[in-house]
C-alpha cells in the first residue's frame, strides 16, 4: 500500500479517492435468508439430544443470567 492511499478517516467513513472512488465491493455468494433459529427458546432446546450443544447452551444460559460479566471479547486474547 502506498502512502497516498491513506486517506481514510479513523471513523471508517469513505473518502474520495480519484479513479476508483466510485467502486464498491459487492458481496458474492449465497445471500439468501438464514433460517430463523431465534425462534428456538433455550428451554425448547434443552430437549435436544446433543451433549455438546447442551454444554454450550448451559454456558449461554449462565451468561444470560449475568450479562454484565460477559468479558470474552477481544480476538487477540483469552
Amino acid at each position: 500500500m502506498d502512502s497516498s492511499d491513506r486517506t481514510d478517516s479513523a471513523d471508517g467513513t469513505e473518502s474520495a479517492d480519484g479513479a476508483d472512488g466510485a467502486d464498491r465491493v459487492e458481496p458474492t455468494g449465497d445471500l439468501s435468508a438464514l433460517p430463523d433459529l431465534t425462534e428456538l427458546s433455550l428451554a425448547e432446546l434443552a430437549t435436544v439430544q446433543h451433549p455438546l450443544l447442551q454444554e454450550v447452551l448451559a454456558d449461554l444460559r449462565e451468561r444470560a443470567r449475568r450479562p454484565s460479566e460477559m468479558l470474552w471479547g477481544w480476538a487477540n486474547s483469552f
Partner: protein, 400 residues
C-alpha cells in the same frame, strides 16, 4: 440527542512492547505500522501505576461489576512475572468494591516456567497461549529473531500449564493456516488440553488480501466448516471453540462476545508501554498509525477515548456498516466480520469483510447443523420446516 457510549470493559495493557519471537505474519512487527519503535520496551512503573488508576476511575464512573485486564505485548512475560503480578494487584486494589477484575496474560508460551506460572497463579492471572497448531509444522512461521523455530519451547510451556497449572489455563489462540489440514490442526491443538480455543482468520483486507484467499469462501470458509464438523460431531465438548460457540449464540439471537462476529459494541482499549491510549492494535494491520487516538493515561481518562471517532465507529453497531452489509440477511450474525478485515485503501472500513464469502459459508453451515440437530428432536417445531425450506443441504452432506 445525548450520545450513548458503552464503557470500556477490556483493558489491554502492553506491559512489554517487544517480542522474543518474530512470527512471519505478525501484524505488529511485520505489518505497515512501526509506531512500536518509538516506545519504551517495557512499560515503566509510572505508566503501570497511572494505568491502574485510570482503569479504576473508569470502573467507578461506569459502575462496572466486572472488567477484563489483558496483559499483552509484544511478549508480556519479558516484563517479568512479578511485574505482571504487582500490576494486577494494583488494579484489583484500586478497582471499586464489587468489581471483579479478570486478569489474563496472552503469551507465546516460550517463557513459561514453573516458578513464573506459580507467580501468575498466586495472582490469579490466567494464561492464554498463542500457537498455530499443535505440531512443529503448524508453527513453522513462529520463529525467533534468528529464524529458529519456537515450537519446542512453546510446546514445553503449553504442556507445563496443562499438567501443573490447569486452573490457570485460559486457552489457545490459533491463526488459521489453510495450507495445513484443518482436522489435524484442531486435533493437535486439542492434545495440548486447552479449556478453550479460538481460530483467528489471518489479518488481511481488500487492499492486502489474506494469504491463499480467493474470494469464493472455499479456502477459509471451507476450512472452518471442516473443523466445525469435527468439533460438532465429537459427541461431547472436547473444548470450547469461541468462534463456533459465539456463532451459535448469535444464530439463537443471543448476545455474543467476540470481535469476529455480531453487532455488539466493541469495548476494548489499549494502553501502550509509554501510556498512549490506543484503539485495538489489530487496526495496525490496515495502515500506519490507524490505532492512534492522541490520548495518554497521564493527561486523559478513558472516557475521552470513548468519544474518539474511531472508537465510536466500533460502537455504532449496524449504522457503522457498509450499505451492502446493512442489506445483508446474515448481518445479525456476521456483523460485517472483524473490523480490520473490512479495510480498503482509500475507502476506509465501510466495506464488507474481505472474508465475506467465507463468513457466509461458515455461518450458513453452522445454521444448517444447528437447525438440523434441533429439528431432529423437536419434530413439531415450525423451525424445522423453515430450515428445510431455506437452507440447502451442506456441501459436505451428512447432517448428524
Amino acid at each position: 440527542m445525548a450520545e450513548q457510549h458503552a464503557p470500556f470493559r477490556q483493558f489491554i495493557v502492553k506491559v512489554h512492547g517487544r517480542c522474543n519471537l518474530a512470527c512471519r505474519y505478525c501484524y505488529l512487527y511485520e505489518g505497515p505500522d512501526d509506531t512500536w519503535r518509538g516506545r519504551p520496551a517495557a512499560a515503566p512503573p509510572e505508566v503501570l501505576d497511572r494505568t491502574a488508576s485510570r482503569i479504576a476511575e473508569h470502573a467507578r464512573a461506569h459502575g462496572l461489576t466486572a472488567l477484563s485486564l489483558i496483559l499483552h505485548g509484544g511478549e508480556p512475560l519479558l516484563a517479568g512475572a512479578e511485574t505482571l503480578g504487582r500490576f494486577t494487584a494494583l488494579v484489583r486494589d484500586r478497582a471499586p468494591a464489587g468489581c471483579t477484575v479478570r486478569a489474563v496474560v496472552q503469551t507465546n508460551a516460550t517463557l513459561l516456567t514453573e516458578p513464573r506460572l506459580a507467580i501468575l497463579a498466586r495472582h490469579r492471572i490466567g494464561v492464554g497461549i498463542s500457537l498455530d497448531g499443535g505440531l512443529p509444522a503448524h508453527n513453522a512461521r513462529r520463529v525467533d529473531h534468528a529464524g529458529r523455530p519456537s515450537w519446542p519451547a512453546a510446546a514445553r510451556g503449553a504442556r507445563l500449564v496443562a499438567d501443573r497449572f490447569p486452573e490457570s489455563y485460559a486457552g489457545i489462540l490459533a491463526v488459521v493456516d489453510v495450507t495445513q489440514d484443518p482436522v489435524q490442526t484442531y486435533e493437535s491443538l486439542l492434545a495440548l488440553r486447552p479449556p478453550a480455543l479460538d481460530l483467528l482468520l489471518p489479518h488481511g483486507n481488500w487492499s492486502e488480501p489474506p494469504p491463499h484467499w480467493d474470494g469464493t469462501g472455499t479456502v477459509y470458509g471451507g476450512w472452518l466448516c471442516t473443523v466445525f464438523d469435527r468439533w460438532w460431531k465429537a459427541g461431547r465438548r472436547e473444548t470450547r471453540v469461541r468462534l463456533f460457540e459465539e456463532c451459535i449464540a448469535l444464530l439463537l439471537g443471543l448476545p455474543a462476545i467476540t470481535e469476529a462476529l455480531g453487532l455488539q459494541p466493541f469495548d476494548a482499549v489499549v494502553v501502550e508501554t509509554d501510556g498512549a491510549i490506543e484503539q485495538v492494535d489489530s487496526l495496525k494491520s490496515a495502515y500506519e498509525g490507524a490505532a492512534r487516538t492522541g490520548l495518554d493515561v497521564f493527561r486523559h481518562g478513558f472516557d475521552e477515548a470513548l468519544r474518539h471517532p474511531g472508537v465510536r465507529a466500533r460502537q455504532a453497531g449496524a449504522t457503522a456498516l457498509a450499505e451492502q452489509c446493512r442489506a445483508c440477511p446474515l448481518v445479525s450474525v456476521c456483523g460485517g466480520g472483524h473490523y480490520v478485515h473490512r479495510y480498503r485503501a482509500g475507502h476506509g472500513f465501510r466495506n464488507p469483510s474481505v472474508y465475506c464469502a467465507d463468513l457466509q459459508r461458515f455461518i450458513r453451515h453452522v445454521a444448517t447443523r444447528l437447525g438440523a440437530t434441533a429439528s431432529a428432536t423437536t419434530a413439531t417445531s415450525a423451525m424445522a420446516t423453515a430450515v428445510a425450506a431455506v437452507v440447502p443441504s451442506s456441501p459436505e452432506g451428512g447432517i448428524p
